[in-house]
């Protein structure tokens, strides 16, 4: 249990130390060191307890709960103040509603509650802890170097780096708390802290857009928070002793009791995981400095949303409400992937691809068969690694070239060879065969066929994955095109960034190489523990995939083996005399430049156009889920 408490409290303590330190090397060193400690801590946790199955710890409920309640109220006051200050009255209203629910709960129902087993750990928690610990710390380390450059480039932004690093570490601490808590009240407490942290980080630059987007994120997440809080009223009224507030007891209590809180909490999960119609906040969040995006998208925040849905998968299994939520995820997957085609802004493409992948995870978890839960957890892992790598690559390129537009990434391989290779690795990790995301997609297809309404999901997946190939491959082609001009600008990238980027690249490849191990050591035991049966990929397929990865690693060597140099020719320009930077004399002797541009298909896959249909559809699906559960409750059946 001490490891858990250490992982929760240590980042928190560091956060307060960082709050006191000015901008200097000491802070950078502390961030780097504590990042190292946190990652080692999470690996230590893995090494010592991965064989142990689920272990529950009777951590005393009081006085911790009281401290948490006080903090929660303080947060509410802070949000109210900010809401009034920025005239965001809807946010104020939502905070008031949520606080009212919590106060009512605390006043009338909380007295008898004595949940015992408040902390726990199982294989899934370990996976999450590894993701948070390793990737989260790497991003924090990257941020030290990034934020220095950020403030050089943006002199208009008030330097609030103390607050920045404070929030980042609080964020990590809250995420650890979230995945280690077996007490739903505590989960909720950490849940609210992640909402607050992301609110503060998105609004970091204090520009009008940033503030608005921060409030958008706050509002949408508060909606989920209210649903989450409402579930407590239900739980406490069903069992006044508070036993049901224990996550494992609740899930084991059977669908007839657990379905209502499960749907409420999974709704909160949908908002946090930026599913449609709530996806706007994650897209808006890209105004924040890039490390924040990386953090939100890979190891924290949105992963909390899918984490909780995966936890409730056994409850949703076989219910129509689960299918409806699954469809929300599936529609989100398809539509967000399609929208990604039409975006030229690299961060926006990444944002929509995150939303899409979360959609897939939600679809898998909500339908909830063992195979699909296996696929969902795989997706969480691979997505975290590859997506953080991609964000940080884009951030680095943006700082050097001043643009995050994919159209400006021609010949990145010439200007930033190493970063381009890393970025390409990350992209490959998102959609190509031997890499992780594709394995999970494949497992998802095989899993959905045998699930109820599976054919609808399979269809959506088939179209969605085709779209995914398109938008990733065209980006990859852009950065790998070898322009005949341009010089290497890589020298100016700082050491800390290199360390982080190369670690993440190695992790992306390692994740693909070691996934059978991860599966058999962590995911399969977890799925087995929950369902009594498990899923895995067949041996032959694993061997073939490992072969493919080895081939991919060997193939680049062939560049050095070919004995004779082939003669170099310029590209075919219709025979026109062309300068080395591809300028040529057009008609009437006007000099023109050859540029290439990718397809974006605005007219088919435009953002507004698609959201116009998908948002109402998803709202409808959520309402259907709610109606089904309500009707089921009145009839005494589980729908």
């Amino acid at each position: 249990m001490n490891e858990l408490i250490f992982l929760i409290l240590f980042p928190c303590i560091i956060a307060f130390i960082l709050l006191l330190l000015p901008n200097n090397r000491i802070r950078d060193a502390i961030v780097a060191l504590s990042g190292l400690v946190i990652s080692i801590g999470s690996i230590y946790l893995f090494a010592t307890s991965f064989t142990g199955g689920s272990v529950y710890f009777p951590f005393p409920f009081e006085p911790t709960a009281q401290v948490m309640f006080v903090i929660e109220m303080a947060i509410a006051l802070l949000l109210l103040y900010l809401g009034v200050k920025f005239k965001q009255y809807i946010a104020v209203l939502l905070v008031l509603v949520q606080t009212a629910v919590m106060l009512y709960f605390e006043m009338t129902m909380a007295h008898g509650l004595e949940p015992m087993r408040n902390l726990f750990i199982d294989e899934f928690s370990i996976i999450m802890a590894l993701i948070i610990g390793i990737i989260g710390s790497l991003i924090a380390l990257y941020a030290t170097s990034y934020m220095n450059t950020y403030h050089e480039h943006h002199p208009e932004v008030r330097d609030r780096r103390r607050m920045f690093f404070f929030v980042i570490f609080v964020f990590l601490s809250a995420m650890f708390g979230l995945v280690f808590s077996n007490n739903l009240l505590w989960v909720f407490f950490f849940w609210e802290i992640t909402t607050l942290s992301s609110f503060l980080l998105i609004g970091y630059s204090e520009s009008e857009v940033a503030t608005n987007n921060a409030f958008l994120a706050l509002k949408l997440n508060l909606l989920g928070g209210i649903a989450f809080a409402a579930s407590f009223l239900y739980l406490a009224s069903v069992d006044p002793s508070g036993g049901l507030l224990e996550l494992d007891t609740l899930i084991a209590s059977g669908q007839s009791i657990a379905i209502v809180p499960a749907v409420l909490i999974c709704f909160a999960g949908l908002t946090k995981a930026a599913q449609m119609p709530f996806s706007a906040w994650l897209v808006g969040a890209m105004v924040a400095p890039t490390p924040v995006s990386a953090l939100l998208h890979s190891s924290t925040m949105v992963k909390a949303g899918v984490y909780i849905i995966v936890r409730f998968a056994p409850v949703l299994l076989g219910t129509l409400a689960g299918i409806a939520f699954g469809l929300v995820g599936a529609v989100t997957f398809l539509v967000a992937s399609a929208i990604a085609i039409s975006q030229t802004n690299a961060k926006k493409v990444l944002a929509y691809s995150t939303i899409a992948n979360l959609g897939l995870i939600v679809a898998c978890a909500s339908v909830g068969t063992p195979e699909l839960v296996w696929a969902a957890i795989m997706l969480i892992i691979f997505h975290a690694v590859a997506k953080s790598l991609l964000f940080l690559c884009v951030g680095t390129v943006e700082h050097r070239t001043g643009s995050r537009d994919i159209e400006d990434m021609d010949g990145l391989i010439v200007r930033f060879p190493k970063i381009a290779v890393m970025m390409a690795t990350g992209i490959a990790g998102m959609f190509l065969a031997p890499f992780g995301m594709l394995i999970s997609k494949w497992a998802a297809i095989e899993g959905f066929i045998d699930a109820p309404f599976g054919i609808v999901f399979v269809t959506i997946l088939a179209f969605g994955s085709a779209v995914t190939v398109f938008f990733w491959a065209k980006w990859m082609g852009k950065i790998l095109s070898v322009t005949p001009y341009g010089e290497n600008l890589e020298g100016s990238v700082s050491r800390a960034k290199w360390v982080v980027l190369s670690s993440l690249t190695v992790l992306t490849v390692l994740a693909a190489l070691l996934f059978p191990l991860v599966s058999s050591v962590l995911i399969e035991p977890y799925v087995l523990g929950i369902y009594g049966e498990t899923a895995r990929l067949a041996q032959d397929n694993i061997i073939i995939m490992l072969l493919m990865i080895l081939l991919l690693l060997i193939l680049p060597l062939s560049l050095y083996t070919s004995s004779k140099e082939s003669r170099k020719l310029p590209v075919y320009m219709g025979g026109r005399p062309t300068t080395p930077d591809l300028k040529f004399a057009g008609s009437l002797g006007i000099q023109r430049e050859m540029t290439t541009r990718n397809y974006y298909f605005e007219e088919y896959f435009g953002e507004k156009k698609l959201l116009h249909y998908s948002n109402p559809l998803c709202v409808l699906l959520i309402l259907v889920a709610a109606a089904l559960v309500a009707w089921g409750m009145s009839q005494g059946v589980v729908m």
């Binding site: 599976g454 054919i455 088939a462 994955s465 190939v469 082609g477």
Partner: protein, 295 residues
Amino acid sequence: MGYEPGGGHVTSIITALAFVVLAPLVGGLVAGVDRKITARMQGRVGPPILQPFYDVAKLFEKEDVTVTPSQNLYIVAYLVFMIVSGAYFFAGGDFLLVIFAFTLAHVFIVLGAYAAYSPYSHIGAERELITLMAYEPMVIFTAVGLYMVTGSFYISDIATSTVPAILYLPGVFVGFLVILTIKLRKSPFDISTSHHAHQELVKGLTTEFAGPVLGKIEIAHWYETVVLLGMIYLFFGFNPVLAIVVIALAYLLEIFIDNTFSRMKWQWTMKSGWGVAATLGFLNLVIVYYLYMGV
């Protein structure tokens, strides 16, 4: 998942090796016959059946020229992964993995075309991606349909299944024929590279490849053709003779379509590929799904 394929490993390895050795011969011959029949349809005599082999042999006699060395790397990867995925298909492996490995191979040739940074190969690459996007859903539907009918994703099981898959999957089969036209780069879907001169694309995707590298691309095409024809076989696994006849007829049909259509816009490719998948493919699957789930 969690299911081991039928058939021994030894036979798998033998069929895979046979594919690696024989597929280029078969694929090349098919290409030769294709050109001969095309010529006959146009009232010409046409080249010798072995012409494709002469062409490739010639390409290997030519000088090796590139725009950038990395192009060659991508094409080697393209060929290698084409062979690997084809070999896995003939070894009786998982259909979905075969499909994804094919996608990987195709992404490599696309990257090779992008790498050159040439206007013509760039547009070819983009359009190749469009075709990839156009046919992918229907290919996945094919795998899924065969799974529901035969109960396995393994090619070895599907090919040896006694279930007359075609009777359950007529819609999927027709859909597959449509995307076969796309995959074989036949008109009206030869949008990414053209077989004929004097077009705005020049040679699209392959514009910047010459000599031995172009030869490798040709060989990869041959491998691909054989696998695609093998996929037709899966619908008729219950009767090998019938399967061979249907394969021949299907290919003849493709040649006929090729010669009666002109190249259309890329939108047409998208609409055809997704259209058949969403209508014929989907409806067929829904019906089979009902039977399969026993509802």
